[in-house]
């Protein structure tokens, strides 16, 4: 198999798919050119992420990493979500093939983008750790594949 059982489980039965109409933070990363786009919706109460939804256009591992990332931050504090790394997402899925690691990077960045949006909506300064390396680029998203 190309993917671990966990990846296949999250791909075939993704958790938290959808949108949140009353989201407190929304972030989208990726680029149609690369074939991966993730959009994360966060509902935040005080310091706690009370609900998360995602929509993803992408391959099996892009969908699985989105799903796993939502599970890892749901019910957690903003601080905990900020500390989520792509390696942790990949590890929770029992690993990804090397050339699919950029999907887990995208999942980490989607969460960061949604948190950054939350800070902006709150009128608070966006912490440096939430700033994405290519945030200001024309395509408006971040992408690890070089396009």
């Amino acid at each position: 198999m190309l993917y671990s059982e966990k990846v296949m489980d999250h791909f075939e039965h993704p958790r938290n798919v959808g949108e949140l109409a009353d989201a407190d933070g929304v972030g989208q990363v990726g680029n149609p050119k690369c074939g991966d786009i993730m959009k994360m919706y966060l509902k935040i109460d005080g310091d706690v992420i009370t609900d998360v939804k995602f929509k993803t256009f992408g391959c099996g591992s892009a969908i699985a990493t989105s799903s796993m990332a939502t599970e890892l931050i749901k019910g957690r504090t903003i601080g905990e979500a900020m500390g989520l790394t792509n390696a942790a997402v990949a590890e929770a899925l029992d690993g990804l093939p090397g050339y699919k690691m950029h999907c887990s990077v995208l999942a980490e960045e989607a969460i960061k983008a949604a948190l950054a949006d939350y800070y902006k909506r709150q009128g608070k300064p966006v912490p440096d750790s939430l700033k994405l390396p290519c945030e200001d680029e024309e395509h408006g998203g971040c992408c690890a594949c070089g396009h």
């Binding site: 149609p32 690369c34 074939g35 786009i37 929509k55 256009f57 391959c59 099996g60 050339y99 594949c145």
Partner: protein
């Protein structure tokens, strides 16, 4: 629940046909002699090998001595390109010019790139939106130092059949060697090396019910390319290595059967294929890739906007359907297929490609099941896609 597997990836590989299996079996344990051995047991293998060669030649309208068995289509393509380049060099013409197309299989493309690194110049001709090469563009690309034209007979991803006879006539008029990678064509459409005016033609056994690991390079007499594989001098000194007798016999049996059945089987496949093309292209923001008229009988190919190909394949697999995609994510590369880009598809759309390639085992029931399952998976993936507008049922992107 996973029902019986529907195999719709015959352009990738096929099952060994029962006739090929039956023909091959005796050569593993009984007729296993080495064709180079002098004793009768070896000479029997030699004569059986030659019989297989003769049958392959008849299927291509070639002469038996023009048929060289190889390890497959890839070796045949490598040999054709590198052999012509080396032949030109041996004749004192270093760094000649090769004309090929942007949509060739990697066996040709990567060999052409290898030759570029060694001082040869290569023109990669563009194709139109249906994947067709313009013969006039081939002629216009010819230079005084052109040593080879290599154009595939039919494309593996989109099924477009090229005007090989017209290109062959141009090559002949200009006295330039002409190679065609006919791996997807042989056994599926009529192939005639004389009518096509080809000097070199590659084919692969496992694309038409033959075994894997055996192919053929047809080399028109009196052309004699220097060998790619050196050794004991088998295949008239052109391709060394103990002959794969069961492979050659199996390839020959499968090809003979495919060519005998071709008119009836291709009509059957066209009818099934057209149901897929018509049925699936009715989905919104979906298009057929390749030509509707100049198309392999069994190949149906599409792009679905707002859907990524690998995710589509994995969901189809879960429903028991084996298909393939030229999406980046279905391979280790991050770019979508060079063929889909060459027919002018934007990256974003090329990521959503699907190829269904039908073969002898596919039935009307398979087509009915695919026409039910594929739209359901496309719909499901679009519903979870951030680039799909659920209200308007269209992609949110402008590409």
């Amino acid at each position: 629940m996973k029902h019986t597997m529907i195999y719709a990836d015959h352009a990738s590989t096929t099952a060994l046909s029962p006739a090929a299996l039956e023909a091959m079996l005796p050569y593993f344990t009984q007729g296993y002699g080495n064709p180079s051995s002098l004793y009768a047991f070896g000479q029997q293998a030699k004569s059986d090998l030659e019989e297989a060669r003769g049958a392959v030649a008849r299927c291509l309208n070639a002469k038996p001595e023009e048929i060289y068995f190889t390890s497959g289509g890839t070796e045949a393509d490598n040999w054709a390109l590198r052999g012509v380049a080396e032949l030109a060099a041996l004749r004192g013409r270093e760094g000649g010019h090769i004309i090929t197309t942007a949509i060739e299989h990697h066996a040709v493309l990567h060999t052409a790139q290898y030759l570029e690194k060694r001082g040869y110049q290569v023109t990669y001709l563009p194709v139109d939106g249906e994947g067709l090469v313009d013969p006039a563009a081939v002629e216009a690309a010819i230079r005084p130092d052109t040593i080879l034209i290599s154009v595939m007979a039919a494309n593996n991803e989109i099924g477009t059949i090229q005007p090989i006879a017209r290109i062959g006539a141009i090559a002949k008029a200009h006295k330039i060697l002409f190679h065609t990678d006919a791996v997807q064509a042989v056994g599926h459409i009529p192939v005639d090396v004389e009518a096509w005016n080809v000097d070199l033609l590659s084919l692969s056994g496992h694309k038409f019910g033959g075994p894997k690991g055996v192919g053929v390079l047809y080399m028109k007499k009196p052309l004699r390319l220097p060998p790619l594989i050196h050794g004991g001098g088998q295949e008239k000194g052109r391709r060394s290595g103990t002959e794969n007798v069961p492979g050659a016999v199996g390839l020959s049996a499968a090809l003979t059967q495919a060519v005998d059945n071709l008119p009836a089987e291709s009509a059957r496949l066209v009818a099934l294929r057209d149901q897929l093309l018509d049925g699936l292209s009715r989905l919104p923001y979906t298009r057929v890739t390749g030509s509707r008229t100049d198309r392999l009988p069994g190949t149906a190919s599409f792009v679905f906007e707002g859907v990524e190909g690998e995710a589509l394949l994995l969901h189809l697999d879960a429903r028991g359907i084996c298909a393939s995609s030229g999406s980046a994510c279905s391979s280790a590369s991050l770019d979508p297929s060079h063929v889909l880009l060459a027919i002018g598809l934007p990256h974003a759309i090329a990521h959503g490609s699907l190829r269904l390639s039908l073969g002898p085992d596919n039935t009307q029931a398979d087509v009915d099941a695919m026409l039910k399952e594929i739209p359901a998976v496309v719909h499901y993936l679009r519903e979870m896609s951030p680039v799909w507008d659920r209200e308007a049922q269209k992609p949110t992107w402008i590409v």
